[in-house]
């Protein structure tokens, strides 16, 4: 942010008026003492090389680390982590403590702002407004790519071009996912487009995400605007479109992770959905829900490995991050979670694993290797959009103020 936020200037005059007219100088001082500290904004561009050197200077491994991750993001048996400990001797405490980005940022922000350890050396966070808040607050350690040889060798180079972290300075991908439409074909027939989510034929049986960035993206795609090119005017038009969906009774509800349950119970017939979930639901419950990237386009998001600046064991975290870029490890993770794998070479590995497997596993693995949801083709990527990028937190607040009233109508 190079300019001064007008909202801050506007308040200055109010403050004086408040203090003198109310004659509450003492109270005012007390109240003012309770300010919430921010961290200022470092330039969004890459830091100088010496910042990387400065952060990593004199740091050595300690033999253990803690990772903050999401539910359903690793085989509960944690085979990859067992291999990691066997290979390096580093013990990993893997916790599924992140359920939503907003609450996670709100939870660790006070500690990070006070420069305290949050108890985690690596955290897996989604690109989007909260990623920007982490980065712009200076909470993320710049990564030393010299210590990430597997990442350099094996990662899909397109990630380094992503706008949320150009050059992968603060983050490297864990997995990506696609937001498309999941549907119960026996009730809806084939679904191909976002317009179907407004179809009165499915009155009361349509689900959307309550997350404003997920919802906003679909609202924008529905009115034919690319999220990355959208303006505040487009946001308002998209919000109107979304309100229509609600007031016409087509929409059943806005969901968080519970959408998959609602689909399973027949509460909704078609809903915004995350790619890997639908696959896992079908495998674990024997259901046959379909997932489609709509004709108008879909959303892609990336969950990223990051290191909080206050981490006690950052070197071990970096070692673990790089370990997940070994092709066999990356393949084994993708085989279980079925989200987009950041290592293209894993596709061949999974095909090999499929050839070696027998019975039911063979079919499942072959399906994973061929799945456009795990290894999307170039044509698929062309139809996928990241969340709306925000130049500043003020712009994000404006976006929130447009879409939040839709969700909390």
């Amino acid at each position: 942010m190079s300019h001064l936020d007008p909202a801050l200037v506007r308040g200055l005059t109010t403050r004086r008026g408040f203090l003198t007219t109310a004659g509450l100088a003492a109270t005012g001082a007390l109240l003012a003492a309770c300010g919430v500290k921010g961290q200022g904004s470092p330039a969004a561009s890459a830091p100088a090389a010496d910042e990387v050197a400065k952060f990593w200077a004199g740091r050595t491994g300690t033999g253990s680390l803690s990772v903050a991750s999401w539910p359903l993001y690793m085989d509960p048996e944690q085979p990859e982590l067992k291999k990691f400990t066997a290979a390096t001797g580093i013990k990993v405490n893997y916790q599924e403590v992140i359920q939503e980005m907003g609450p996670w940022f709100a939870k660790v922000q006070p500690q990070l702002a006070a420069k305290q350890d949050i108890g985690y050396d690596a955290m897996i966070i989604t690109n989007g407004s909260n990623f920007a808040k982490f980065r712009n607050s200076g909470f993320l350690a710049p990564l030393d790519h010299a210590k990430l040889p597997n990442y350099v060798a094996n990662a899909d180079p397109s990630y380094a071009k992503a706008a949320y972290d150009p050059g992968n300075v603060y983050s490297i991908p864990w997995a990506s996912g696609i937001t498309g439409i999941a549907y119960d074909e026996s009730k809806t027939g084939p679904i191909t487009s976002i317009a179907d989510l407004w179809n009165p034929r499915f009155k009361g049986k349509v689900g959307m995400f309550s997350d404003t960035e997920e919802l906003g993206n679909y609202g924008l795609l529905a009115i034919g605007v690319k999220p990355e090119d959208s303006t505040p005017d487009d946001w308002r038009k998209a919000a109107e479109k979304l309100k229509e969906q609600k007031s016409s009774g087509v929409l059943r509800n806005y969901y968080d992770q519970s959408y998959i349950d609602a689909l399973g119970k027949g509460e909704v017939w078609l809903t915004q959905a995350w790619s890997g979930d639908v696959f896992q639901k079908n495998v674990s419950d024997g259901t046959n829900y379909k997932f489609v990237i709509p004709a108008e386009g879909g959303t892609i998001w990336t969950d990223n490995f990051t290191i909080p600046v206050t981490a006690k064991n950052p070197v071990d975290a970096l070692t673990l991050m790089d370990f997940f870029y070994q092709v066999p490890v990356s393949a084994s993770l993708a085989e279980y979670i079925n989200y987009v794998c950041p290592v293209p070479a894993a596709k061949e590995q999974i095909a090999k694993d499929a050839a070696a497997a027998t019975g039911e596993d063979k079919a499942t693995l072959a399906q994973v290797a061929a799945s456009p949801l795990v290894f999307p083709a170039a044509g698929d990527y062309a139809r996928l959009h990241y969340y709306v990028p925000f130049a500043s937190e003020a712009e994000h607040q404006e976006f929130q103020s447009v879409f939040e009233p839709v969700v909390l109508g």
Binding site: L8, G11, L31, C34, G35, V36, N253, E267, Q397
Partner: protein, 284 residues
């Protein structure tokens, strides 16, 4: 000397507790509500009262809705709880204590879990609606989840003991001989109930209303779990402002607005229907 200090010493632990965990957070929150900025660059105190006007305008729908749901739940609670309390107090016999334990038994399971389990009962094709739909008694698209009815039912379920217990305490204290006396003086059962039992139970109802209306109006779990986007209550808005948007000033201002509205409501209620007056009016 020691005697003069004693009351202060007795108040000290509770007083310190309140100072630390009630007064300090309240002052902090009041300060927050008057700050401006954003979570990245930090919030600065500017005495910006405008936030109150903004949040009131933006979220008055949810505020009014919360009060309506709270009031509706309270009315249903009185109707549902009174017979239960009455029966336990007058016909519970030796098993009174057991019945009260049964009433409180659900409290051994987490509030949120119990609410989520209602989802399974009320879901579209679930154990309740599924068979009724199969039998053709309900149309296919009929649903309870996501409607105001589901939210109010959830509130009633979760706050039931808080209404039953105070009414029970009031009824339990009634000397049965007072009722007998009324009957001796040729009051029929209905008249005896209306002129004797009901007035004596009103302080319990009064306390029950206070104990249920305030938390029910500010509750956010029932609406989040059983409701839909069109049943959002003010508690959900506050939660999302704090935890999703990190908009601390708006969240604090909303909390104070809610608190003020509820306090005014409660004072007006106590003023209009103070326990003493209630009994006088009813005994007339």
């Amino acid at each position: 000397m020691r005697r003069r200090l004693a009351p202060y010493l007795l108040v000290l632990p509770g007083g310190l507790w309140l100072l630390l965990f009630f007064v300090v957070p309240m002052v902090t929150m009041l300060s927050l509500s008057l700050q401006e900025g954003d979570i990245v660059s930090g919030y600065v105190f500017t005495g910006h009262w405008q936030t109150y006007a903004d949040v009131f305008v933006n979220y008055r729908t949810q505020l009014v809705r919360s009060l309506v749901y709270g009031a509706a739940a309270t009315v249903v609670l009185i109707v549902a709880a009174f017979p239960v309390a009455y029966w336990i107090a007058f016909h519970g016999g030796r098993r009174k204590a057991s019945y009260l334990v049964l009433l409180l038994l659900p409290f051994f399971v987490s509030f949120v879990l119990r609410t989520i389990s209602w989802r399974y009962v009320l879901t579209d094709e679930g154990i309740l609606l599924g068979p009724l739909k199969d039998a053709g008694l309900l149309p296919d698209g009929f649903h309870v989840l996501g409607t105001p009815v589901a939210v109010i039912l959830g509130l009633v379920y979760n706050f039931l003991p808080f209404m039953v217990l105070p009414i029970y305490v009031a009824l339990e204290r009634i000397d049965p001989r007072v009722v007998e006396a009324a009957r001796d003086l040729y009051a029929g059962p209905a008249v005896a109930f209306r002129k004797v039992v009901l007035p004596l139970a009103l302080p319990g109802v009064f306390a029950g209303v206070l104990m249920t209306f305030v938390p029910a109006s500010s509750d956010y779990v029932n609406s989040a779990v059983l409701g839909s986007s069109s049943t959002a209550m003010i508690g959900q808005v506050i939660q999302s402002q704090y935890l999703t948007s990190s908009n601390y000033p708006a969240a604090s201002a909303l909390s104070f607005t809610l608190m003020a509205v509820l306090l005014i409501g409660v004072f007006a209620y106590a003023r209009a229907l103070g326990t003493e007056d209630v009994m006088k009016v009813a005994a007339r």
